[in-house]
């Protein structure tokens, strides 16, 4: 083996130019693969980590639902976001799990913002419980003005972007202490209006175009805007004529103009007008003795109405274990909830990120394939040029296996040495990029990077994968020309 190694080294030294050309190509190829894969790995783990650490946690518990559901709402306008059933029981079990580091209940809704009777903007609202929010996400936002909501306090913390939009329309800056009117609409509660005081203006530390639109509202007002504190409708009683119009109807049935038609043969009826001069007092009493604003049923406690319960684990490796425990518990108790990961919770942003990264991955793959083809081609030419030399070696008694081993070791040596140089070069480039930071100059780059700046780090998996790939390709690439060279008779090979 040592003889083959010596010969291989000698051959590489003797064919310095050839060795250098192949080596440089391998180095560049490896560097491209290492840099590209490291960039992708950093970006992927970046957006994942950003969302898990700052917005979603590792596991999200939601009520059972049909369509897709993210922290920003449902993709179906007709399907309200379900409330987690038996929230207190769910919370008690979650808090008893040793793997859970923190938990955070959350509700979400959209609202129109009005000031001085004019619409000034829109807000994506997260309803929060301040203490639990800060326990799970102690450092995910920076207060620019005002104070964080106190426990039990009502008010809104406006995102910087929303505050800027309102300020522009108002022609004066909004500030903590100002009041704004929020109007929310829901299927259960209809339209709801709430006046809230701005408690703070803040920005998230790791914003993206989706999250930076989020403002934080106390849960009491959010529940009102989202119709979460509305009781289920009582059974509907319909009159016979109303029932008749519920089924299939046709214009013939409605406008037939015969006695069999739904409205008979007369288009216009004479009506007996109610002769009742209504006084102001009469009109103030039109709701009778029943209370106008229905109080929330004391038997039904809405204080536990939440859309999501986010869980942060002490160790992400325990996601599977915790999910299994939760599923078993919910099945035993018959609680209808769903478990989601950060990708579902992050919604559009995670989807767009995955889509854009797939395209980016394909580009890297194409670059890698081109690099590999060049390396293979150069190796083929290199071995073909040495057919005479191989013939001579065979003529003086070298076995086929000896020649095969010799070429293979040469290839591995080139791949190893120049591959390492490529890795080092890639590492230096990545180090510089890490120090400088690659700014995301547009929204697409922000989505890929998962933030405003990407600071790539050398990915060990990218290094190993690139080296192994190039070595395997090198060895495989040299097999064909070697087998061609060995098939030629030594005399003919020497003559060529």
């Amino acid at each position: 083996m040592s003889v083959i190694l010596k010969i291989a080294f000698r051959n590489l030294r003797q064919h310095k130019t050839k060795t250098l050309i192949i080596g440089i190509i391998i180095s560049i190829g490896i560097a491209v693969l290492v840099i590209g894969n490291s960039l992708l790995d950093t970006a992927t783990s970046g957006i994942r980590q950003t969302y898990i650490d700052n917005y979603t946690g590792h596991i999200i518990i939601t009520g059972r639902h049909r369509g897709e559901l993210s922290l920003f709402g449902s993709n179906s306008m007709d399907e309200p976001i379900p409330v987690i059933p038996e929230f207190e029981t769910v919370l008690e079990f979650v808090s008893s799990l040793p793997e859970v580091e923190a938990y955070n209940p959350r509700a979400t809704h959209l609202a129109v913002i009005s000031i001085n009777d004019k619409v000034r903007g829109f807000a994506q609202l997260f309803g929060i419980e301040p203490t639990l929010y800060r326990q799970m996400f102690p450092d995910n936002l920076e207060i620019i003005a005002g104070e964080f909501l106190a426990p039990g306090e009502e008010g809104i913390m406006l995102s910087e972007i929303t505050a800027d939009q309102i300020s522009k329309k108002l022609d004066r800056p909004v500030a903590p202490g100002d009041s704004i009117l929020l109007t929310g609409m829901s299927l259960a509660g209809g339209t709801r209006v709430r006046e809230v005081e701005i408690k703070a203006i803040f920005r998230f530390r790791n914003p993206d175009p989706q999250i930076e639109m989020v403002s934080l509202l106390d849960i009491t007002n959010l529940r009102a805007l989202a119709g979460m504190n509305v009781q289920r409708a009582s059974e509907i009683v319909l009159e016979e004529t109303e029932e008749a119009l519920l089924g299939e109807i046709s214009e013939e049935m409605l406008f037939g103009g015969t006695e069999d038609s739904l409205f008979g043969d007369v288009l216009v009826d004479q009506v007996t007008v109610v002769q009742q001069a209504l006084s102001e007092e009469d009109l103030l009493d039109i709701f009778g003795d029943e209370p106008q604003t229905p109080p929330i049923d004391a038997d039904e406690d809405f204080s536990g109405a939440w859309h999501f319960l986010l869980l942060k684990l002490k160790n992400p490796r325990h996601i599977g274990t915790v999910q299994r425990k939760l599923n078993e518990f919910f099945q035993e108790e018959g609680i209808e909830v769903s478990l989601q990961g950060w990708t579902e919770g992050a919604g559009v942003m995670a989807k767009m990120s995955t889509g854009v990264k797939t395209v980016f991955n394909i580009i890297i793959l194409i670059v890698a394939v081109v690099a590999v083809i060049i390396i293979m081609n150069t190796l083929v030419i290199s071995v073909t040029e040495r057919i005479a030399e191989i013939g001579t070696m065979r003529a003086i008694g070298a076995q086929k296996s000896f020649v095969r081993k010799m070429i293979t070791i040469e290839t591995i040596l080139i791949s190893g040495i120049f591959g390492t140089i490529g890795v080092l070069f890639g590492a230096v480039v990545l180090l510089i990029l890490n120090l400088v930071g690659i700014p995301a100059t547009n929204i697409f780059l922000q989505i890929i990077f998962g933030g405003e700046v990407l600071r790539p780090t050398l990915s060990l998996s990218a290094v190993v994968m690139s080296l192994v790939t190039v070595t395997v390709i090198g060895v495989v690439a040299s097999l064909y020309p070697v087998s061609v060279a060995l098939k030629i008779q030594p005399v003919k090979a020497m003559q060529s």
């Binding site: 007709d78 739904l262 109610v274 209504l278 009109l283 709701f287 106008q292 604003t293 229905p294």
Partner: protein, 252 residues
């Protein structure tokens, strides 16, 4: 065969031209004015109790009961929810060209738009305002036809400003009296959004009120709202009814 078909097409085309030519634009504009006049209460006030029943393949059936107060000569209306219980006391007040929504829980008013849906029904807030077809639209084509047993004018309209809920409409208007029996309402891209049917009217004083309306959402199959009216009155209402103060006080 082809010659027969071609002749048929030409005859049909000429016939349609003749039909349109037979009725002048001035006559159609007069029909629209008649519709506006017949369905407005310019000398009296108007109040009634409306029941809105909405059916949806996903959400099932919902029922809303609403008191309506109208003063058409001043372009004012007030809608007060009586049912369901969760919405009781909520109101829509149109005064001074502004539509206000009132939430009795927070006792706050917020500005809203006539183009928006009324609660979760297929009605629009603008459906409760008195008819202003002749002010908001111009007729672009018209013909005569029938709808079931009734002879009608079929008129296509185009909005003359962007404050209307629907930029394009097609109306089937009965000939005597001039009442809208059917309306197809289109978006700016001329996509059919809603079909409204008015199969039954009642005469109140000199005006007509559709006491049954069927509004079909053409975008969501199976979504429909029927509106019926009862307790109709044209007695004078106190001026205070059309004020924010009344809406607040009635909720005390």
């Amino acid at each position: 065969m082809r010659r027969v078909l071609l002749t048929g097409v030409i005859v049909a085309f000429l016939f349609s031209l003749t039909a349109q030519a037979a009725i002048t634009q001035a006559e159609i504009e007069r029909v629209l004015r008649n519709v506006d006049n017949a369905s407005s209460f310019m000398t009296t006030d108007f109040s009634a109790e409306m029941t809105l029943i909405s059916q949806d393949p996903e959400k099932g059936v919902e029922k809303h009961v609403v008191r309506i107060f109208r003063r058409d000569r001043e372009d004012k209306f007030l809608l007060l929810f009586q049912e369901p219980r969760a919405l009781r006391g909520q109101g829509y007040l149109l005064v001074d060209d502004s539509l206000w929504f009132y939430d009795p829980e927070s006792r706050k008013f917020s500005h809203t738009s006539l183009k928006q849906n009324f609660a979760s029904t297929d009605a629009k807030n603008s459906d409760f305002r008195h008819s202003t077809l002749s002010d908001d639209y111009r007729p672009v084509s018209w013909s005569e036809g029938t709808l079931g047993a009734y002879s009608v004018y079929i008129i296509e309209l185009e909005a003359i400003h962007d404050e209307v809920t629907y930029p394009y409409m097609k109306l089937w208007i009965s000939k005597s009296p001039n009442l809208v029996l059917k309306a197809e309402e289109y978006s700016l891209s001329k996509r059919l959004l809603r079909t409204s049917l008015f199969p039954s009217y009642v005469k109140v004083g000199d005006s007509y009120v559709p006491n049954t309306m069927i509004l079909t959402d053409e975008l969501v199959k199976g979504r429909r709202t029927q509106i019926t009216m009862k307790g109709i009155s044209i007695d004078k209402l106190p001026d205070s009814v059309f004020t924010k103060s009344y809406v607040e006080r009635v909720n005390r």
